[in-house]
């Protein structure tokens, strides 16, 4: 069984590795946005040094981590939900349900492969360009990088769980566009993609840092910047892990409820 999912994951990796032009275009766009955002953050931190507990170098690292992780953690769309919704809408999902594999695990494996490719293909180059142009903060040693990668993996898992749940709504709504847009909006704002969550004022910041979207970028970035020491790091992982479990469970419950009502038309 595990071999099957490993094959699906490898397939996800290879499938996205085929689109080299799209990858190059994505890298270019992420880099351009990285530059634009970097200068706005420099201006902001120039006025208020140590805003949100970040130095300018930390803030710049945050910008480029965000650009590198957009597709990995699914801040602006998981990259698979449109396809899944379309399969639900057209009824092709019946074929998927007929396979001797779990639907959620199948899509998660494909997502894992895709994320791994996106991290290598779309993450590394913008980070390198950003580091070269702005000399931002780097993690202290290989241990820091490893801790960051674990947080990214957990963030990517939470991202998948959110978008899977969103896609499940199509079983009831058929047109998932409304829900997708709302989720997109939530992801964009509450992941800290536009502005770090620790810069959000008062209660808004408190709430934003508790929501699942904080797992996608804010937590990995803070792990990268070494803001968590000792047991705090375990706490950060636990925060991501809990959201992953809760959302996976919700997705599974929605899937179970949906598959009970699926009616496949013959003919």
């Amino acid at each position: 069984m595990l071999r099957l999912y490993a094959t699906v994951a490898a397939g996800g990796f290879r499938r996205h590795a085929t689109y080299r032009v799209a990858t190059a275009a994505g890298v270019f766009t992420n880099t351009v946005f990285g530059f634009v955002l970097s200068y706005t953050y420099i201006a902001l931190w120039d006025e208020r040094p140590q805003l949100g507990g970040y130095s300018v170098d930390d803030a710049l690292a945050y910008v480029w981590i965000g650009q590198a992780l957009i597709t990995v953690c699914g801040m602006m769309g998981g990259g698979f939900e449109d396809e899944l919704i379309e399969r639900i809408r057209t009824g092709d999902i019946a074929v998927d349900l007929y396979r001797p594999a779990d639907l959620q695990a199948w899509w998660f494996s494909a997502h894992a492969g895709r994320s791994a490719y996106q991290l290598l293909g779309r993450g590394v180059v913008p980070m390198a360009v950003g580091a070269f142009a702005f000399h931002f903060t780097l993690p202290s040693g290989p241990g820091g990088w490893l801790a960051f990668l674990v947080a990214v993996a957990l963030g990517s898992t939470v991202g998948f769980a959110i978008w899977y749940l969103v896609a499940m709504s199509a079983f009831w709504l058929l047109d998932g566009q409304g829900v997708v847009q709302v989720a997109w909006l939530g992801g964009l704002f509450f992941s800290g993609m536009l502005l770090p969550l620790n810069v959000f004022p008062g209660a808004l910041g408190e709430v934003a840092r508790m929501l699942p979207w904080a797992s996608l970028l804010q937590v990995p970035a803070d792990v990268y910047l070494g803001k968590y020491v000792g047991w705090e790091l375990a706490g950060a992982y636990a925060f991501q892990g809990c959201w992953a479990l809760v959302l996976f469970g919700a997705g599974r419950a929605a899937q179970a409820a949906a598959t009970r009502k699926v009616v496949v038309q013959g003919g």
Partner: protein, 315 residues
């Protein structure tokens, strides 16, 4: 109004190419009779501009009617579209909650930059935003259907899947613009008052030209749509902030290489009574319409070249 002129301006001359493409297929032995019909139709047409406008109106109208079949869904997506762009502005509000000024610009001044760029980009995105999805049509060959129709291709593709919900972005941009004008403490002269609408219109045309230029590259590289995003969405983000915060090389780049500075920066700086960035002369604030015209010319040439090199997948 802006988009009307634009659609026409760009497709002027494209019409011929379009029918040329149909011809090429004909010589491949498709349907002689059809090409005759196309020709007769063209002789009766009222010129490429009017044709483009008519096509655009018809196709867009069709999509609007189809959207209106699900009114609740439309209302929801319109509100979300407004919110997405509104959150974009919330970021600037949050920034100004922490600081008094960015790069020496106050809130009202940044809001003016945001409002002018946002409105222009919103209108361009509403009218031409569908172009970025043309790559899929090139890849799966469904562009052939468009080429067979006796109507200008650019107008057809631009109006394809016309999404009225994108009006949310225009509304948000206008709202911020009006807010900025209410807050601003500027000595208004007739010239400045006149410059504002001219800026919004030229800005729209420049953004739209960039979109057409980007779509032209899709004939060769179907997956490269995201590159255009970095100039449209990225350019819009760039123009929302004062030029003083960016590296001077970057500012020179958007003045001389990709002339996005003419969308809003240069005219808005004149309105604000601030010096132009990167050693650009002051009269540059008034040449936006000219720059827009040049951009349209370049986009038209690129589009022609794109269509000429189009080879159907045949499926």
């Amino acid at each position: 109004m802006a988009e009307t002129t634009r659609v026409g301006a760009d497709s002027a001359g494209i019409h011929e190419v379009d029918s040329g493409a149909i011809h090429e297929m004909d010589s491949g032995g498709i349907q002689e009779v059809d090409s005759g019909a196309v020709h007769r139709n063209e002789r009766r047409s009222y010129g490429p501009l009017a044709d483009s406008w008519r096509t655009y109106r018809l196709v867009a109208g069709m999509w609007i009617r189809s959207t209106m079949a699900y009114r609740a869904s439309f209302a929801l997506t319109l509100v979300t579209s407004f919110c997405v762009t509104f959150f974009d502005f919330v970021v600037i509000l949050l920034m100004f909650g922490q600081v008094k000024g960015l790069g020496g610009f106050g809130f009202a001044e940044v809001a003016l930059l945001y409002g002018t760029a946002g409105t222009s980009f919103g209108i361009a995105d509403l009218t031409m935003g569908s172009l970025q999805r043309m790559g899929k049509r090139v890849r799966d060959g469904s562009l052939d259907t468009f080429l067979m129709r006796p109507a200008p291709l650019l107008a057809q593709v631009a109006a394809d899947k016309f999404a009225l919900r994108r009006f949310g972005r225009v509304a948000q941009g206008l709202l911020v613009l009006v807010w900025a004008l209410l807050l601003l403490d500027v000595e208004w002269t007739p010239l400045k008052v006149l410059l504002l609408p001219v800026t919004v219109v030229s800005g729209t045309v420049i953004f739209a030209a960039v979109m057409v230029l980007g779509a032209s590259t899709l004939f060769w590289m179907q997956d490269a749509a995201e590159v255009t995003n970095s100039f449209t969405y990225g350019g819009n983000t760039l123009l929302q902030y004062p030029p003083t915060i960016f590296a001077q090389e970057l500012v020179r780049g958007v003045v001389y290489v990709v002339p996005l500075a003419f969308v809003s920066w240069l005219p808005a700086l004149y309105v604000l009574g601030r010096p132009a960035p990167a050693g650009v002369p002051e009269w540059a604030a008034f040449v936006s319409p000219l720059v827009a015209a040049v951009c349209c010319g370049a986009a038209g040439l690129a589009w022609r070249a794109g269509i000429r090199s189009y080879r159907s997948t045949g499926s």
